[in-house]
């Protein structure tokens, strides 16, 4: 191979995967992707949960006598089914009630001594129907109690929303930390290559030329990092979304094309932050030299 066909040796030697930067960037990229995946999964889940609970109530009928209880349930179902403000009425079966009780009391089986209240789930056409429902229920059964789902699931939805925002903030901060790693690395290399920089200056290199060399070096290291971290993060995220698909109650909303696009934007965003930050840091430092 002739000399002309050879690529000139880079003026700043690259460390590649032997150096710590690609690995730190890889970890940060992976964490940013996982955090964003969490945010993308939690936000629609919280929205879905809010949508499910805002118009839903449960009517509990705590009547000990089974005959009276069944009668109250039947009357309520018949009346509410035809009510204009009600969209759907569903009476929980005995087995569902016992399954719920099992979770709290252990295996209650067919224990006849244990009296369970009847529960009717009602979906309202809109939240405005709540007052009419309470009034109508009281007329049919004074013992019945109307419990809006929002009273106990609302804080959960709110918590999920908060967690979603926190996860998004963590994703953003992690991306910025990856940029900071690139800046620290560039500054450290700047000190380490001070002699080379002096020579470059003295043979007439401009700050922009030197900064471009550092920029290329940071870009090479960061590309390794975002490729490794991004690949790992993507695999873990796909696994996470796949698992979420199995979650009941329609909470699993992750894995949409939009979510995947946002996730795939993380590596190039980190690369851009790292290269831009390193360039600024190097130019600032070079400005202090003669």
């Amino acid at each position: 191979m002739s000399r002309a066909e050879q690529m000139p040796t880079p003026l700043l030697p690259a460390q590649g995967l032997r150096g710590p930067v690609p690995w730190m960037v890889a970890v940060m990229t992976m964490l940013a992707m996982l955090a964003l995946a969490g945010a993308l999964a939690l936000t629609p889940a919280a929205r879905s949960l809010s949508g499910q609970i805002v118009d839903r109530v449960s009517i509990q009928i705590p009547i000990a006598d089974p005959l009276q209880r069944r009668m109250a349930v039947r009357q309520l179902r018949e009346n509410l089914t035809d009510a204009p403000y009600v969209r759907d009425v569903r009476v929980l079966s005995e087995s569902e009630l016992r399954a719920m009780a099992d979770q709290w009391l252990g295996d209650v089986g067919e224990d006849a001594a244990l009296t369970l209240p009847a529960i009717i789930d009602v979906d309202l056409v809109s939240a405005d129907g709540y007052d009419r429902l309470v009034r109508d229920v009281r007329q049919i059964s004074a013992d019945a109690e109307v419990v809006p789902h929002a009273t106990y699931l609302g804080p959960v939805a709110s918590l999920m929303r908060s967690l979603g925002w926190i996860a998004a903030a963590i994703a953003l901060l992690t991306a910025l930390v990856a940029g900071a790693i690139a800046v620290l690395s560039a500054r450290s290399r700047l000190e380490g290559e001070r002699d080379t920089i002096d020579i470059l200056h003295l043979v007439g290199a401009t700050d922009v030329q030197i900064a471009r060399m550092f920029q290329r070096q940071v870009a090479r290291d960061t590309i390794w990092g975002v490729t490794i971290g991004g690949g790992t993060g993507l695999l873990l995220t796909l696994l996470l979304f796949w698992q979420l698909r199995g979650v009941a109650s329609g909470l699993a909303a992750g894995g949409s094309a939009w979510s995947m696009l946002l996730l795939l934007l993380i590596p190039p965003i980190i690369l851009a932050i790292a290269v831009f930050s390193a360039r600024r840091a190097v130019l600032t430092a070079l400005g202090n030299m003669l």
Partner: protein, 251 residues
């Protein structure tokens, strides 16, 4: 003002002009004081003086590694003390420097070190190959062009440093003890190279202790630095010994 060159005009013909220049590092005292001289275009100058006299500081001002603490330096018709930082590279590209400690980039081959000024100037690889190979052949390093500085002897490193300094045909060549590590034959060859460049218009400034070297360039001028000042304001030592002998002979 002490005009070192024979009869320099105040401007136009001067490539470099120092007017009452002082230099201090940080908060220490001045390492150079009240230095005034002019270098004519196409002149050949030797800078001599004992160690610690301020030769290296003077050279640093000449190759724009430092700005003066006071006074005025005019170079290439511009006040370099007031020059904007972004304009410095353009000035430095007209100056070739041979450092006493060579200052080669250790991970670059001899070829890449010599090619550096041309690459910085933006020449493409095809235009670099010929001149750099030719220059390395000239300093007898053609077969070793791919060697790293660490595998070269002191003399070979010095020849690489000289090749790097002259490859871009600078207007001003500054050399700090350029023949300190080479054999006498190579010293003569290098001096011939400097002379050749000088004949083609390059102003050459060589800091050296080597009297023999000074004697080989009869028309050269001597700048003597002592205790941070240009000594010999009377001009008694203005010319190197050979010139003085020649002048005495003529008289």
């Amino acid at each position: 003002m002490d005009h070192i060159s024979g009869a320099p005009s105040p401007s136009g013909k001067d490539l470099v002009r120092f007017d009452n220049v002082g230099l201090r590092y940080d908060n220490s005292g001045e390492v150079l004081s009240d230095v005034s001289f002019a270098l004519a275009r196409g002149g050949f100058y030797f800078v001599a003086g004992p160690s610690g006299a301020g030769k290296t500081s003077l050279l640093k001002l000449l190759y724009l590694a430092r700005r003066p603490s006071r006074g005025k330096i005019t170079m290439f018709d511009a006040d370099v003390g007031m020059l904007e930082r972004r304009r410095l590279p353009g000035f430095r590209r007209r100056i070739g420097v041979v450092f006493q400690d060579f200052r080669l980039i250790p991970h670059l081959s001899a070829f890449d070190n010599v090619a550096l000024p041309l690459r910085i100037a933006g020449l493409n690889e095809q235009d670099i190959l010929g001149p750099v190979s030719e220059m390395l052949d000239w300093v007898k390093l053609g077969p070793r062009m791919h060697a790293l500085p660490s595998s070269l002897s002191g003399g070979e490193q010095q020849r690489v440093a000289i090749a790097r300094a002259v490859i871009a045909r600078p207007l001003l060549l500054i050399a700090d003890e350029p023949t300190g590590n080479v054999d006498p034959d190579m010293a003569v060859r290098l001096l011939q190279l400097f002379e050749g460049l000088n004949n083609s218009g390059t102003t050459v400034v060589v800091a050296t202790h080597d009297l023999h070297l000074m004697n080989r360039i009869p028309g050269a001028h001597l700048m003597r630095v002592a205790k941070g000042r240009l000594a010999d304001p009377t001009g008694a030592l203005r010319y190197p010994p050979a010139s003085r002998r020649a002048s005495a002979g003529l008289a």
